[in-house]
Subunit: 305 residues, 2 copies
């Protein structure tokens, strides 16, 4: 069943210890949709400028992604540049040019409004809420946010996530949102804010899923080489929602199989790990579903006891 | 089958955000042996001063630990004091008084020499080697070390671990010992130094077991309150060797069940997690084997998918 992805499509300049690239395809919506496209029909809502390249559009279209909601306006596409630390656990933003993204006002094509799955990349919480309200018949909706919205747009963010089924954030965001350092306590507080499911992403250390009174933990995949971590968290989100859409998972009607949620976390981890293997979206140019399923099996092998 | 534990028995002064205690029972040998004692007959080799309290001896004896190798000499017992950071991920040593530990020269009682399991806490590598050489008929021997020996006693350390079956160290030690930042590459280099099995402890992020070309990963147990992490790594080591001793695990004769090694890592994680729940060794005053097995089951429940 189909997934609607809302967020940024961008050009990125990235420097890691392995090299430097500029103006390569990036943005949360790009990564989420590429990852989700391996599991379910995926449609995007985003905005780009008139500099957006045919080859980048072709990459998305080549993965079967519906681009009806990709708006093109005069001006330049959102640009971000950053440099990673030697161990790649930190990054410094060198430049953020919002360009056409500054006036992004997500417009849902009519055909998108009845899609059962919605994932909202990290954008202004009021815009996220506005999109959510235009959808009819959602089985599962949720998304991501970031420190900026948690700190300076708290009330707006709380009003937005109140109606979400799941929230996907990293550990420092969970701590900031809840005011609790301990992740178990932080999760308990976040689950009181609305979402019945919380996924805390911990980068190389894996992820934790909190659902009602239970939790599920997975360690991060041990890569021999982390080439470029940009987009890994968004690919996690894409694998997570993609797998749940493929299974027809329905949180509303309480048809909740926790195993499905746990497996969605594994597929999220799988997609995040592939993302790190090459610069930007490069790994998705030839990644196959068979490779994805084989890495899922690897997760089983190295966590079972 | 019985386990011999060699290392420090100490008095600790500890300050965490939860409070401050002074001169409480501590030391690697203490924690390792307390944890191991839940699984197998445990004997210790250590030295204390004439200030060593009857009640501390009683705690060890009460757990059935054989104290024949606990040497008492005139002077004061090893004293260490430290303070933890607010998030308890860092600690600063305030004081280290080696006292009688400065001249520690482990003497193995005759009855210990034929024990099948040996675990060497973090002491001078030459002393560790000396102990290892006095044992006859070992099924499994290994131990711990630290940055100081890796940096300043490298050759001595390499000569020591060459004959070990397993090495248990944390991630920064693995990086320092191998000269590789990436843990998968670091492990490959360490496994070439002798030990066929390497366990990398990652604190709250769990542990990784490397054995030949395979690895096993477990996330850290999610505690609602980390009261005092002192000794958690040593309790991990005690649970690890204790469980293998209980199973009669024999690495020499290639009777290697990887599942047993993986489960030993889980029991190590279980013992480390209990250790953090109270100050010092306090959790072991009333901890039961039933609680340990029940937490093992919890690990299964929150990692299975």
């Amino acid at each position: 069943m189909s997934v609607v992805v809302v967020g940024s499509v961008a050009y990125d300049g990235i420097e890691t210890p392995h090299g430097r690239v500029d103006r390569i395809l990036g943005g949360a919506c790009t990564y989420i949709s590429l990852a989700a496209s391996y599991f379910a029909k995926t449609s995007i809502v985003a905005v780009v400028g008139d500099d957006f390249a045919k080859e980048d559009e072709d990459l998305l279209a080549g993965r079967g992604i519906d681009l009806e909601g990709l708006e093109r306006v005069p001006g330049k596409t959102f640009y971000w540049a950053g440099v990673y630390s030697a161990d790649m656990n930190d990054r410094t933003t060198l430049r953020t040019d919002l360009n056409v993204f500054a006036d992004f006002n997500p417009k849902l094509p009519d055909a998108y409004r009845t899609a059962p799955y919605l994932i909202l990349g990290n954008i202004q919480p009021a815009l996220q809420r506005h999109v959510r309200e235009q959808m009819n018949g959602l089985k599962l909706a949720g998304g991501d946010t970031m420190n900026y919205w948690i700190k300076d747009y708290r009330e707006e963010l709380l009003a937005t996530i109140r109606s979400w089924d799941f929230l996907l954030i990293n550990d420092s965001e969970a701590r900031m949102l809840s005011g609790e350092y301990n992740l178990k306590r932080a999760a308990a507080k976040v689950l009181e804010m609305g979402p019945r499911t919380l996924v805390i992403k911990r980068g190389e250390y894996g992820a934790i899923l909190f659902h009602r009174n239970e939790h599920f933990m997975v360690p991060g995949y041990l890569l021999e080489e982390v080439f470029d971590p940009t987009g890994a968290g968004d690919c996690f989100a894409g694998g997570f929602i993609g797998y749940l859409a493929e299974k027809g998972f329905d949180l509303r009607h309480d048809k909740v199989g926790n195993r499905d949620l746990s497996r969605a976390v594994i597929y999220g981890s799988v997609m995040g790990s592939f993302c790190c293997e090459k610069f930007g979206v490069d790994r998705f140019r030839d990644l196959t579903r068979a490779e994805i399923d084989s890495r899922f099996d690897e997760f089983k092998a190295f966590t079972e006891f």
